[in-house]
């Protein structure tokens, strides 16, 4: 029994080694990784945030292509809605990419970042507060001999980390939530109407499925229809 489990464990380790460890090792030395490493080591926030945004933009680009393609050929989506869904995907995709790059360029700006950080987090790092922390630590035996320099260096590390996370989150949130999900839909939905019209320019008039129950302002439409008929009669 023990022998069998040993054989299985050895085989699993070999599979992990060949299928995951070795490819990951290769990937760690892939072209471009030296640049990525250098920028991450130097904590170049513009580059780090840019990589995050690039990742989302790349996925959006590929996703947009696939969604449009699939939506157009998805027979499960009703005929009368298929082109609008696809058009919305196309308009969304293009605008999302542009808007995310734009938001990244503005929000990740060093001056903007430092202003936002100081406004929200500045109070936790002002000199008076840090002096308070230092006084508490000095009260412990472990830190009796702590120098000012050691303390300020450690505070610098904490501040640096906070700046890094803040910059990352604000940049991503601005791009993916505000830019992509608030601003883009406002522009994309009307644009989708136009895209759909362009996509349907050569189509015969589409028949709306008799089972689709349109709840959109039905009363208003009926009322208008009645009014028109009365006017005609008159």
């Amino acid at each position: 029994m023990a022998r069998i489990s040993n054989i299985i464990s050895n085989a699993t380790n070999k599979v992990v080694d060949y299928a995951l460890v070795k490819p990951l090792n290769k990937l760690s030395t892939a072209p471009g990784m030296a640049r990525v490493r250098k920028e991450y080591c130097n904590k170049n926030m513009n580059f780090i945030n840019g990589i995050g945004i690039a990742s989302i933009v790349l996925k959006d680009g590929l996703g947009c292509y696939m969604y449009v393609n699939q939506s157009l050929h998805n027979e499960k989506i009703p005929d009368d809605k298929r082109k609008f869904v696809a058009a919305l995907d196309l308009a969304n995709g293009g605008l999302m990419i542009a808007m995310q790059i734009l938001m990244h360029l503005t929000i990740s700006n060093k001056l903007m970042q430092s202003k936002m950080f100081n406004k929200l987090y500045g109070k936790y790092f002002n000199r008076s507060v840090t002096k308070g922390y230092q006084a508490i630590l000095k009260n412990h035996d472990k830190y009796k001999g702590m120098t000012n320099k050691e303390f300020t260096d450690a505070m610098g590390v904490i501040r640096g980390k906070a700046v890094e996370a803040f910059s990352n989150i604000t940049s991503l949130a601005a791009a993916t939530i505000i830019g992509k999900r608030v601003i883009v839909p406002f522009i994309a939905t009307p644009l989708a109407d136009k895209t759909k019209a362009w996509m349907c320019r050569n189509d015969k008039p589409a028949e709306i499925s008799s089972e689709t129950k349109n709840t959109y302002c039905c009363e208003k439409h009926n009322h208008k229809k009645d009014e028109d008929e009365t006017q005609k009669k008159a």
Binding site: Y143, M146, L172, K196
Partner: protein, 484 residues
Amino acid sequence: MKVEKISLNSYGNMPRSKDSGGTKLYANRALNTNFTGGIPQADLVKDIQQLMPKTIKATNRLADSMGEIQNIIINAVGTGLVAPIFIKYNPLSKTDEDTRTYSAWRQPLSAVLAIATQASMVAPFNNLINWMANTGKLPDPYNKTNFQDDKYIAKIIKKTQPNLSKEQLGVAVKKEQERQYKELLENLRNQNTIFIKQHKMPSKPMDEASYKNLLLETVDSMIKEDNKKLENCGTTKQKRAIRSEFFRKHNDYAKQVMSGIQKDTEKYATLDEYRNYLSGKIKSLKSEQADQELISMVKEIQDRAQIKPHDENAEKALIKEVQNKITKMLKQVNTYSNILSEEDVVKHVDESIQTSKSALEKSISTLNEIKTKLNTPDSISIKEIEKQIAQKLKEGNITDECSIKTSFATKVIEKYKSNIEGSLKGYKQFTGLVISLAVLPVSCYLLNWIYPSFMDALFPNLSNKKHDNEASALVAKAPKKEEV
């Protein structure tokens, strides 16, 4: 995944010294001797963070783990929660509401699928990368064997000593991390190199070019640090000049207010009382339209009192700090009671700034000298660098803020650690991106497959299909043959 057994007492695969005929182990002579590295920064950072508000703790935890998974989650929050609202309630769209509602429902589904497919694939890869870095299975720039993670060390200790309690395990992990730190420090000082342990291979010294580069990067970061402080001297000078001028102009008033605060707070025993008193004082000063400089002085005292202490000792320490600050401020006010003109104030401020300015300049020039020596073909060792710095410190006039005040070897370790952590972060982000892109077609396919069925099942009115029960209700309602 297999966790290999590593002896915690000694690394059997330590390299053999060349100068001792290949018999002496580096590890044997390096440990626990002449340890003068000061307080390990990682410990200090952890303990300071414990004192800070939860917001900072959470933000810093995020900084450690920020990567592709966080990207996916933030993106999914926008997709799932925000996008549907702006699609459905868009006043600019001319498309009917049903179609918009139909499209809006796609977003939360897409968000759930993105997390389920992409994040669930990236997370195990991140764990695998961490494991590879801790065991030395990755190339040198990602090798964490010299400062392994808490979790990894705990896992190894648990394997050899399964009966340890949680507290004992914590102590053992800390001890092992301290051992690794001391070993790094001693190897830097005595062997002038960093030994990198590799999986199932003997440790090897870091290659010369990378080591030299690490030292140069350390010196550069120290110069940058000092230059930044030198630039800040200008702002400090301006701030000090404004306050000093206030002390000169309104000396009696400032003295009266500060003595009043000192007298009033003498009777307080808790930090809460201090807080209440100081916020009341600020309010009353504001209503009296007192000078802004005086208000900000009281605010500086209040900021110290605002910290929430975790125990009685911390509270006592903070109260003492508040009292010291009040005394210090009174002393400052008194200093300026004899200075009569504005020129004298400027001269006084200049003198106080000049000391730190010249100290920083001296620190920068020392570092530049070291940089030049490092760039020569002979180069210099860490021991020699530390000797040169010690000499400069002996000459005097180097203030606490100068970067050369911290041991150079410690600075090299900090840089080495931050380089490896940075490299790993970048690598994880890159791998995450590759995995997410690879999984994306699956997410798209799943969405396209699930979305229409989901809408058919839950919102038959929006799609063309009706629920079975709705369909049967319609059939029941339909006129029967006999009725026609």
